[in-house]
Amino acid sequence: MLTLSGLDKVYRTGTFGTSDLHAVRQVSLDVQRGEVVSLIGESGSGKSTIGKMVLHLLSSTGGTITFDGRDVTKLGFRARRDYYRKVQGVFQDPFSSFNPIYKVDRTFETLRRSYFPRVSSASWREKLDDALAAVTLEPGDILGKYPHQLSGGQLQRLLIARALLLDIELLVADEIISMLDASTRIDVLNLLGELKGRGLGILFVTHDLSLGNYVSDRVVILYKGRVVERGDTSAVFDDPLHPYTRDLLASVPHLDRTWEEVEAQEAERTRRLAGRCLYHEDITAQGRSLGDEAEAVGGVPNGLGLVEHAPGHFVGCFRKAAEEECPAGPAVKP
């Protein structure tokens, strides 16, 4: 349904735009109907930037975004309005998502003015009640209140209800859990699961591995704007291939293991993997020379692509930052 291919985002920085900052490099991924895809990465990995580009809040520098086979990388005002009927987003901070001087109803009213100007008040109210029921909110408790009178979880569910008013097909959920406390998190997470059951595709942006594991069908691991690993959730979490994914998983505290045990295991793994790169090993194993690399991984050169290590499990070059050299040797330079 949603396909990103070779998506780039470059910011010009420096005094006269003299240097470039690659926030997103050659990112390719797809989201199907009825599927949750998690975009996992640390701060500054470009995950929110990707979400914003999908939502057309930021322009992309290169690559394409297609939705249902239609290129939506560059859209005019009218086309964007139509696009937003199908694709909606929910953001990280529910308190900043509402204009603090107005009641929460106004968010819905804005949507109505924009998309349903001819719907009668009674049928709109019915539609609104349905959407609120879908996110298990009681209209009487919510409507007519100011944002600061509601909890973060309630606000976040209100925003999801707002998106549901539009019969959307794709929801970009940008860190929607991270500002909520533990007791309300699970409500929102389960709500996402239910929406998935209704056939919605969800792009779930998060830095929290356990959330990604809990909710998603497939995961995409980002590091410094580049996809380092991508695949089915079970495959990536059970058998992480890229050193960064392994570091990430090892940094999650366990209830049944002490740090010493984890560190010993990590040291062992680091020794075993030293000087290797599965990406380049796989390309060589396919009988291709390193010059053919681009064709082997779908046209993305410079070791920014992914190779299919196991069915449905892709991994990128083992170097960490795109500017570094591959640990397997100086065979490929960026």
Binding site: Y84, R85, S96, N99, I101
Partner: protein
């Protein structure tokens, strides 16, 4: 008035949520506390702030005098009505000029043009400054650079000197035209201030959400950005109002005022021209000078008071 005041003041609420108030005070008062409570609370504090009350009483008093005063006058401002150089008396409360014109009649007529200049000049400057500030802050990029350049250019132009040249050269000497020129040269600081506040509001998620609702730029600025800074915009207008009056008075005083109307600055100009100072005709130049000082001073005091009303951190309680 008292009927609109809540009996138990909302002061307790403000102190209950210092975090909310403090976090948002940078863009005026953005935290509505309870349904319908925001406007009422603002009014509550406004009516209890001595600075606002004093300023408002003085400004509204002069405005009222200018509006209804002419109805009670026996003479037109330029009529040779009485004995020349007469000191204040029952017939001529502010005395007469060298030519026997009624100074009070001139003063009342001058008040009218003074308020007209303030309203028009302040209005023009507010519209230009806010439009440029909003668009530059919201759109960013090249548009921002260009508008910023324009703002900076107008900012460094010595406005008063240009006004002198325009007034002397074009010779358009009516009060509205004077107000228009003043407005055209006094907006840059408004544009800069509005731009910076728009910049900070633009990064809030609710702006993105409005964009996701398929709403255009104009609607977002009007319905989402501007309401968050209404209090600031109001104070900006008060300052522009006072500034325009002062500039107009200065222009009038150096002889570049309207030729077909009376204004407070013009009165002082004529008083000096006909040596009122040397002849000791204090009733000719003191009323207009004091009038301008009181109006502009009261506006500035009101502005300080309003700042305290809108920004809970500055409230003295």
């Amino acid at each position: 008035m008292t009927a609109t005041q809540p009996t138990a003041g909302p002061g307790t609420e403000a102190s209950e949520q210092p975090g909310v108030a403090g976090a948002t005070s940078g863009i005026g008062m953005t935290g509505g506390r309870k349904p319908g409570g925001d406007a009422r609370e603002t009014l509550y504090f406004a009516l209890r702030n001595p600075k606002v009350i004093i300023g408002m009483v003085v400004v509204l008093g002069f405005l009222l005098l200018g509006l209804i005063g002419p109805a009670f006058l026996k003479y037109a401002p330029m009529d040779y009505a009485g004995p020349p150089m007469a000191p204040p008396s029952a017939d001529f409360p502010f005395g007469t000029t060298t030519f026997g014109q009624d100074v009070f009649a001139q003063f009342v007529a001058g008040l009218r043009s003074t308020f007209l200049v303030g309203l028009l000049g302040g209005g023009v400057a507010a519209v230009i400054g806010m439009t440029i500030g909003f668009v530059a802050g919201y759109r960013g990029g090249l548009i921002d650079e260009l508008l910023n350049m324009l703002t900076n250019v107008v900012l460094v132009i010595p406005g008063f000197v240009v006004l002198i040249i325009i007034n002397a050269y074009l010779g358009v000497r009516s009060v509205p035209m004077q107000a228009l020129y003043i407005g055209i040269f006094s907006w840059p600081w408004v544009a800069r201030a509005v731009r910076s506040q728009t910049l900070s509001l633009r990064s809030r998620d609710f702006i993105d959400l409005a964009r996701l609702s398929g709403v255009g730029v104009g609607t977002i600025l009007r319905r989402e950005v501007a309401p968050n800074m209404y209090s600031y915009l109001f104070m900006t207008f008060v300052l522009l109002f006072g500034g325009s009056i002062l500039t107009a008075a200065s222009l009038d005083f150096i002889g570049l005022g309207p030729t077909n109307a009376m204004s407070l600055g013009l009165m002082m100009n004529q008083a000096v021209q006909w040596s009122a100072l040397h002849l000791g005709l204090w009733w000719w130049f003191i009323p207009p000078g004091l009038g301008i000082t009181l109006i502009v001073g009261s506006l500035y005091i009101m502005n300080v008071g309003l700042d305290e009303v809108f920004n809970p951190k500055l409230r003295e309680m």
